[in-house]
């Protein structure tokens, strides 16, 4: 889902994949990043059964929280063949709490293997937040 307020766009990268992500708030930025990553992988999910999962993390900064969050989604996709695309996400005092809902993978073009810290910096903009993320594929 891409709108003026929140979205993602693929960036040039010679060997791997990169996304530019933007949103009006920090939680929305995390959600847009997750959806962008799902979109890059070309995942199609089943209508049911819906699966809900809680994930919590604590880190020194928001960039680390973002890597931890996306890495969790990478792990679950690879090991449990689940894609999460609905998120109730809170970030407070460098802590992330998210309730995510998803479904089993029906088909996928390419799994993401890892989320990198390469030049990772969440920036405040006039309209919210933005970040560029590079994924290992």
């Amino acid at each position: 889902m891409v709108s003026k307020d929140s979205g993602y766009k693929e960036q040039f990268h010679t060997a791997d994949w990169a996304l530019h992500v933007w949103a009006a708030s920090l939680p929305a930025l995390f959600v847009a990043a997750a959806r962008g990553m799902n979109n890059l992988s070309g995942a199609q999910t089943a209508q049911s059964p819906l699966v809900s999962r809680r994930f919590s993390a604590e880190a020194a900064d928001n960039e680390s929280l973002l890597v931890l969050f996306l890495s969790e989604l990478v792990f679950v996709a690879e090991q449990e063949h689940l894609i999460f695309n609905k998120f109730n996400l809170k970030i407070q005092d460098s802590k992330l709490n998210v309730l995510m809902t998803g479904a089993p993978i029906l088909s996928i073009s390419k799994y993401i293997k890892a989320v990198t810290y390469h030049n990772l910096k969440i920036q405040k903009t006039e309209t919210g937040f933005q970040v560029d993320i590079v994924f290992d594929v």
């Binding site: 693929e10 040039f12 990268h13 010679t14 060997a15 791997d16 994949w17 070309g42 020194a60 960039e63 680390s64 890597v67 931890l68 890495s71 792990f75 996709a77 690879e78 090991q79 063949h81 073009s109 390419k110 799994y111 293997k113 890892a114 989320v115 990198t116 810290y117 390469h118 030049n119 990772l120 590079v134 290992d136 594929v137």
Partner: protein
Amino acid sequence: MIRIQDLTKITDYEWEIPQTFRHDMRVPVRIFATRTLLEHIASDKSLEQAVNAATLPGLVGSIVVMPDMHQGYGFPIGGVAATEFPSGVVSPGGIGYDINCGVRLLASSLQAEASAPFMNTLATLLNQYCPSGVGKEGVVNLNLPELERLMREGSRWAFKNGYATESDLARTEEGGCVEGANPAKVSDRAKTRGRTQIGSLGAGNHFIEVDWVEAVLDQDTASIFGLREGCLVVQIHCGSRGLGHQVCTDYVQDFQAAVHRYGIDLPDRELVCAPMDSPEGQAYLGAMRAAANFAFANRQLLAHSARRAFEETFSAKLKGWQLVQVYDICHNIGKIETHLVDGTRIKVCVHRKGATRAFGPGSPDLPPEYRQTGQPVLVPGSMGTASWVLAGTEMSMQNSWGSSCHGAGRMMSRSQAKHEIHGEDLRRTLEKQGIQVRAGSLTGLAEEAPSAYKDVDAVVETVVAAGIARKVARLRPLAVVKG
């Protein structure tokens, strides 16, 4: 953006970014490339990444980059960096996520011409016995104690379990087992990802390829390597699967705090590092070596599966189908090696990220039969193009930390390749060239199209002209299995 004008030309094949180029560089960057290849290199951010890598504490000599260099994350792909042991740093990002990604070459004495009627069957069996695709399960499912044994023993585990010969072990870098592996420093999550993936190929640019020896350029060396003109060989390109990726993910995360503890200031968070003699550095080295051993065992099991496919295809029909290992090399790894620096032999941690060890003649680390020739250096091409077998030289020991190139090197992004190349068209084109293709995904095949890569022949000509490797044989593909 770094421009070619910012570089100092040393020879037609060597360039330098001097240490004075940026205030935080601790050593210069030495680039092996022709002017044409340099123009490709300068079109993405790889030179900037090499300059960033030159800021790591404890570096000695120069950062060296190969002509197949391209943009990575943190380090450029094709980069080699040496840090003084044990006080210098080790950087997980300087080794990469796919720890001990590498190439294995097996050779037969079966003439390609005679094998042609059976190539379709062989490609199908290779595809069947060598599972491919991310997350794809391998040929054995290990319990935790057995996985930990495998991480300590590498290819020796495969030998004990009937998947390897003694000759396979002798002809594998480090004998297929890096000492100092510590599975206790590998996270449960990494073990979970690896437990079911041993003996699988994975996805991305990983492949199994059947080639024929199109040309022998050095008959004596080719004979010692077991390569015969016109005969079939097999290349296996893969690494440590999800286990290695998780080890790197975990330690890049952990080292975010370590750099603050050790007062290390870096231009890119992917370059995080820790002194090798610190608890953090020791933990990573133990985990990285465990992942490296996992990769050795993984390629060994894939070699076993390839042998099974050859036997089933050819045993009742033709002679000379048995596959003998030429060599197995790592191109993403950190190794403690002794090198000559300013006239003194010192121990360093050589980070190779997309670069192949290329030890020259006389190295005690080579099997006895290769001590006169230098190490086999395996340079895979890009499906439709040639691959090369080179040999390491004295010059590589002096000028490139005993390293050479690792492939053709990407020049087109994956998304551009997907937009410009249709997977089914590519498959048909390759099949018209006589190459059997088995691909898990047609879009994945398109991403790996030959036109997405540099000219492997130009890359090889550069390292040969620079003296850091010499030509032994050229291979041409007949069948490709990709994840």
